[in-house]
Symmetry: C2
Subunit: 448 residues, 2 copies
């Protein structure tokens, strides 16, 4: 796995830690989102499988090491550092929340505890893979909430930020609640249902629409979905009706979806195709889906592309990866940031999920453990220990079930498409607040 797929400063810092004799200090970094994006009340954690795969396979090839040695920034770096890169293996521990878990601002999704160099280099990759998939899974969860039980399919690879982003968007959208994706490689790699039948070019490739539809039906049988808006949507519906069973239904890709879906429904019903379904596509998002549902448009399935695969209304997630703890010769030092909008709480943490709130605690605390008080679930579980996977990760299907079941438990106000007046209640424990105060005092006492 590409060791160089990281920001250069991770590697210069690693070299610096080597030079300063700090490579064996054990660092703890936490990955979290400081502030939920616009209109979001929760995130759906996703991307752990790819993060783990990366950490377990992170290597530097001879060519990659040679490239670094040739860079001016590495001219003065001790040779031993390059040996260390050649021998690089991730030997640390990773704690993470299960994919599909709803998470809130400030809660760690992932904790890395490893020798400083091993924990530093992966920052860029971990942020990009978990940040992106979490953003897309969250967007997909919003779409499926808006669709009130109608199916939503992810169709966005062509507009994704690179083909590979399309594959991962397909996976993340499925975790977030979509029934599947059009991305065939995502289906192959992650065992996700795949969907898709034909485009406008198919209709155009035949002299007449009816010929194109007939040929498609011959090919796909009961999976046939006619795209009916190439020339005239209602006329297209009549052609579909004319061919009768077998058919799944029709797809509308342009025009006024409320009116057209009603007109098309009538055409199909009049032809006895009561079971023929209507799918709509074309620049949809959760807000438009909500409008269509509110207007009682007779739509059975939504196909969403661009806005889902790029999370268009919030195209980046402010995920950060922050140093919270350093251990050297058995001595722990806690680190924090006190800037107004960029507070980082010190020390390794645990997130406890109670029925009606979350508590962010010091990692050594036990919350909800007493037999008399309310029960709580510890969300961060060991995933990698000493560089080895603890157990196989659950597949995307299980992550999707986790998201679906967990969201059902979340009060309705947080599942809406708009920001709740108050965010979901997440508290720091008294012990964590005390640690923050302790670090603040130490910082003030240190000569700058």
């Amino acid at each position: 796995m590409h060791g160089l797929l990281t920001d250069l400063y991770q590697l210069t810092m690693a070299a610096g830690y080597y030079q300063a004799g700090k490579v064996h200090e054990k660092a703890t970094f936490e990955l979290f989102v400081r502030k939920l994006p616009h209109n979001r009340n929760f995130l759906i954690a996703a991307g752990l499988e790819q993060a783990v795969d990366y950490l377990l396979n992170l290597r530097f090839t001879e060519e990659e090491v040679g490239y670094l040695r040739g860079l001016s920034q590495f001219a003065q770096v001790p040779k031993g550092f390059f040996e260390a890169l050649r021998a690089f293996r991730f030997t640390g521990d990773v704690f993470a929340v299960a994919e599909g878990t709803p998470m809130f601002a400030g809660e760690p999704l992932l904790t890395v505890r490893a020798p400083l160099m091993e924990a530093q280099i992966p920052e860029t990759y971990l942020l990009a893979t978990i940040g992106f998939q979490t953003m897309i899974a969250t967007k997909a969860a919003r779409m499926t909430e808006a669709a009130y039980g109608r199916s939503v399919v992810e169709f966005g690879t062509r507009r994704a930020h690179s083909p590979e982003a399309g594959v991962l968007a397909g996976r993340a959208a499925y975790v977030g609640g979509c029934v599947g994706t059009s991305n065939t490689l995502a289906g192959f790699r992650y065992n996700i249902p795949v969907f898709g039948t034909a485009a406008h070019s198919w209709v155009q490739a035949f002299p007449a629409e009816l010929d194109a539809f007939r040929e498609l039906q011959k090919l796909l049988g009961p999976a046939t979905v006619y795209l009916i808006d190439t020339y005239d949507t209602v006329e297209g519906a009549r052609h579909a009706a004319q061919l009768g069973e077998p058919v799944w239904g029709v797809r509308l890709d342009s025009g006024n979806m409320t009116e057209l879906s009603q007109a098309v429904r009538r055409v199909l019903d009049d032809a006895g195709l009561k079971n023929g379904k209507i799918m709509v596509t074309g620049d949809l998002n959760e807000y438009k889906i909500l409008e269509l549902m509110a207007a009682k448009a007779p739509i059975d399935s939504f196909g969403v592309g661009t806005e889902l695969a790029t999370s268009a209304d919030a195209p980046n997630l402010g995920a950060v990866y922050k140093l919270v703890e350093l251990e050297s010769n058995g001595q722990k030092r806690y680190t924090a940031k006190f800037s107004e909008n960029k507070l980082t709480m010190p020390g390794a943490k645990q997130v406890f999920r109670f029925d009606d709130h979350d508590e962010i605690a010091c990692s050594w605390e036990c919350r909800g453990c007493s037999s008399t008080g309310p029960a709580a679930q510890a969300l961060l579980r060991p995933v990698i220990v000493g560089g080895r996977l603890v157990e196989a990760l659950p597949p995307a299907t299980a992550a999707r079930e986790n998201a679906c079941d967990s969201l059902k438990k979340l009060p309705g106000v947080y599942r809406r498409l708009f920001a709740a007046e108050e965010p979901y209640p997440v508290w720091y424990t008294p012990a964590l607040n005390r640690l923050l105060e302790q670090v603040r005092k130490e910082r003030e006492g240190v000569p700058a």
Copy 2:
């Protein structure tokens, strides 16, 4: 190269063309952008190298074919189709504009002419790779325009839509005018300058800021950039000044950049570090860069991450790939779409660039060829002919020079950060307009 990295419907359509005996019909598809995104007056074409690499190496493995055979959608597909996938090679032609070329709405960036199946399957990948890189190169060009000659560096991998998107964003940003990227793999793969020194965690990993700075200077010498805002920016500048030469300069990542850069400049100047440079980073975009330049903030370099690598103000480009021509048994049929907002002009085209306008012509036309009229450059050049690369593509450096030189020739009004009152003049030639009318009449005459 992953044959399955495409929308499923490309493969069902391919199967359908096989079934309908249409696989040998030669299709021409064009890739273009219907409408420029918000505030854009031009695009910078990018991503051709990856598109070509994909087409030349597109294959279906035995496992991939087996996966398709197992899908319900392929249950009725003739067996010969799977043989055709196993033997799949792209044997067609590709015409494309050089990377780095400024392009406008409606102008083809790439034309694919190949047997229907070979031209159809690549649609998804081509759109994702060229659409994404073009979007990012365009965003980078806007940043460099705003910076009026100050350098702009791409730092966005951590917020990119997947790690691989970060690598391609680094490449595309360089093509668009950035001086380099923090993405080390992009530097290694594409021979692009890489930048980066240290993060806040570096400063935090030492008991005091001055220790962290001293250690960094020992490591990086004249490439040293101190990140000075971990605790207090001006105090950080004093620590940097205290250590003197060698140093590149300092980086500010938070706070009021105009005031802080002035204060820091004074500290460096007073310490005799007149050559010490100031870089700023932190949620920058072209609009903020313009403000800082207008305020005469003494900034030498801008590092831009999230907003560049995700093109945050316009996070998707409406690139489309449309069938314009079909040839069967020597007979040509032109295809077009007449929908109000989705007009597709029929037939293979050429784009001619004159000094003060572009003309979109039929591919067989010659514009600007007469010795008396104004000269014009034909932008679409053969890149792949009969499945073979015509000549090695220019490296990213040449693409970047192309962008830089071409943008200099563009009138200032189109290089601004806001939409010009009128778009850059792009005309259809009379012959192309006649072809559109001919197709419209044919369409009306065809029984629906």
